[in-house]
């Protein structure tokens, strides 16, 4: 199979599928072990300087923001990231933690482009931005989840998105059609926020699943934060709802409102003034720093963060939530 075209982007995290198998054999326990711990412990044990890290879902939607803030508190640096994000990656960019990006989207959605991202790239803080589409990134995770080195897709072809990616174009040996091959992406660490989990890591998500299924299976270390910690008996009552089985998980963190100021479907609405506060603050480097001081560095943990946001405001978000009735 001849390579017809190669993207010139760096393959930031080259996949080693046999090493991944070996890792999964030797480093991931099959036993039901109590993995409940704090954000502080989970991040200090599993996130390391220079690691390749991803978050799921994204910034304003079911995003593990309490873990994201803890990563900043612990100043984990030179991160290489899966760049599908809004607030979470903005905070890391503003804190100067990111070195390389496999990029599909970093912006503020309804509020436009990200000033933090612009400053970081235009100012040269980011060593490289390798371009991908959303389908490409999730298929890269899916390939890792499948334990295979790549997947063929029909996106990216003919565009600069492909030219500045690390994808390759080949002719399919079966049909003769041109396809874009995207390499498996195995994360060193994944952070994910879910609706409920037991203390072993069996985790359930409500509403859309984003890329939780794929990313959960594409990580060497997976930290789950959950709105609710439930007894395993409840997991066993609804096993069909388990998206992430325990053996994928390395740490379980109890984080009510863990996605604040983003939303959590059926639990609470997003905090629009809270999101706008970042949008405004992040317009300047000074503003972004002040925000990080106020909401991250000056606070010891997620509990203090929730106290700062205030019960009244959180109650209002719960009342405004998407309801099933």
């Amino acid at each position: 199979m001849d390579v017809l075209e190669s993207g010139r982007g760096e393959l930031i995290q080259p996949p080693d599928l046999d090493a991944f198998r070996e890792w999964n054999r030797t480093q991931k326990s099959r036993k039901l072990i109590d993995k409940l711990m704090t954000e502080k412990e989970a991040v200090s044990r599993f996130v390391f300087d220079g690691c390749y890290i991803g978050t799921e879902l994204y910034g304003t939607v079911r995003c593990p923001m309490s873990l994201v803030r803890e990563v900043i508190r612990q100043k984990k640096k030179d991160l290489r990231i899966l760049g599908q994000g809004v607030l979470e990656l903005d905070l890391w960019l503003a804190a100067g933690l990111i070195k390389k990006i496999d990029l599909t989207y970093i912006g503020l959605e309804v509020y436009g482009t990200s000033a933090a991202f612009r400053r970081a790239v235009e100012g040269g803080q980011i060593e490289t931005c390798v371009e991908w589409s959303n389908a490409a990134i999730t298929m890269r995770l899916k390939a890792a989840a499948m334990g295979i080195p790549f997947l063929p897709i029909r996106s990216m072809l003919g565009t600069d998105t492909l030219t500045y990616s690390a994808a390759k174009v080949v002719e399919d040996p079966f049909t003769g059609m041109k396809v874009c091959l995207v390499p498996a992406l195995i994360l060193d660490v994944g952070l994910m926020h879910v609706h409920r989990a037991d203390r072993y890591g069996n985790a359930q998500v409500e509403g859309i699943s984003g890329f939780a299924f794929e990313m959960g299976r594409a990580c060497k270390r997976l930290i789950i934060s959950a709105e609710e910690i439930i007894p395993t008996e409840e997991i066993r009552q609804y096993p069909d709802r388990t998206m992430i089985p325990y053996y994928l998980v390395d740490a379980v963190v109890h984080a009510p409102f863990g996605s604040h100021p983003g939303d959590m479907a059926y639990v609470h609405e997003r905090d629009e003034p809270g999101i706008r506060e970042w949008v405004e603050a992040s317009k300047t480097a000074e503003g972004a720093r002040a925000y990080l001081e106020k909401y991250v560095d000056n606070l010891a943990d997620h509990e203090q963060y929730l106290a700062l946001v205030g019960k009244e405001r959180l109650d209002r978000l719960v009342a405004e939530r998407e309801k099933r009735t």
Partner: protein, 258 residues
């Protein structure tokens, strides 16, 4: 309704909304496409199947979605799935339309939402493809919604994030993109445009209809490349009172976009 009583953005949203075809599956991108889709469902396309990339399918629009993965994208939906499923659904030919935006567009409908200037040392770093490239690659028909000026309608985009007809007829297919797919309309703040895409056509952008109060000369003056100007050019009907009322009172009462 006289010209002063609505903005060009409102008009653009109304013209875009009228292009949504009832009974089709339609990928809806962030921002203006969401307003247009919601207006369409409330007017001419009540049986539209809206699809949001992170997994919302067949939502009932209650409040304007502000995030492509937010709970409003699967409010009382028919299906809440994930992004690999929505992308695979498009890849196997199940998604008819995609409505998307971009920072720059060229005569062949290629869109840029990645960088202005050199990629590695950009003058402006934009968000990136997101699902844009996938929508433009995999949906049968795409519609771009854009502000119309010379900085945005350019002879060559700085970066092809999302494929239109690339460099001309047959190029999509030659690069491996699915046959008979591609951009069909551009809705701008000045006009409705399409592409010369019949067999033997150039695949270049063509003026279809100007907005009320906009002259052909104004469209030409605000376009950085040569448009195909047919002999017959119609005028888009202005927003109706019903459309404006829905837009202002039900769809975007907080004036996030309009």
């Amino acid at each position: 309704m006289d010209e002063q009583s609505y903005s060009r953005t409102e008009l653009m949203i109304c013209v875009a909304a009228r292009l949504f075809e009832d009974g089709t599956t339609t990928f809806i991108g962030t921002g203006i496409p969401m307003l247009a889709g919601m207006l369409a469902v409330k007017t001419t396309a009540p049986n539209l199947m809206p699809i949001f990339e992170f997994g919302g399918m067949g939502a009932i629009f209650d409040k304007l979605p502000t995030a492509v993965g937010g709970a409003r994208t699967f409010h009382k939906a028919l299906c809440a799935t994930g992004i690999t499923d929505t992308m695979e659904t498009a890849q196997r030919g199940f998604i008819d339309y995609g409505f998307i935006g971009g920072a720059q567009i060229d005569p062949y409908g290629n869109l840029n939402s990645t960088t202005i200037g050199d990629h590695d040392h950009p003058k402006a770093r934009l968000p990136g493809s997101g699902g844009g490239n996938d929508v433009g690659s995999l949906c049968w028909m795409t519609v771009a919604i854009m502000q119309h000026d010379k900085r945005r309608f350019v002879p060559q985009v700085d970066f092809i994030t999302t494929p239109g007809y690339l460099t001309g007829p047959g190029k999509r297919e030659a690069m491996g993109l699915p046959p008979r797919s591609g951009p069909i309309y551009v809705v701008s703040t000045l006009a409705l445009l399409d592409f010369d895409r019949l067999p033997g056509g150039t695949c270049r952008m063509r003026l279809v209809a100007t907005h009320p109060g906009v002259t052909v000369e104004e469209v030409v003056a605000n376009t950085g490349f040569e448009l195909i100007i047919p002999v017959k050019i119609s005028e888009n009907p202005p927003p109706s009172e019903v459309e404006l009322k829905l837009l202002r009172e039900e769809i975007d009462p907080e004036k996030l976009y309009i």
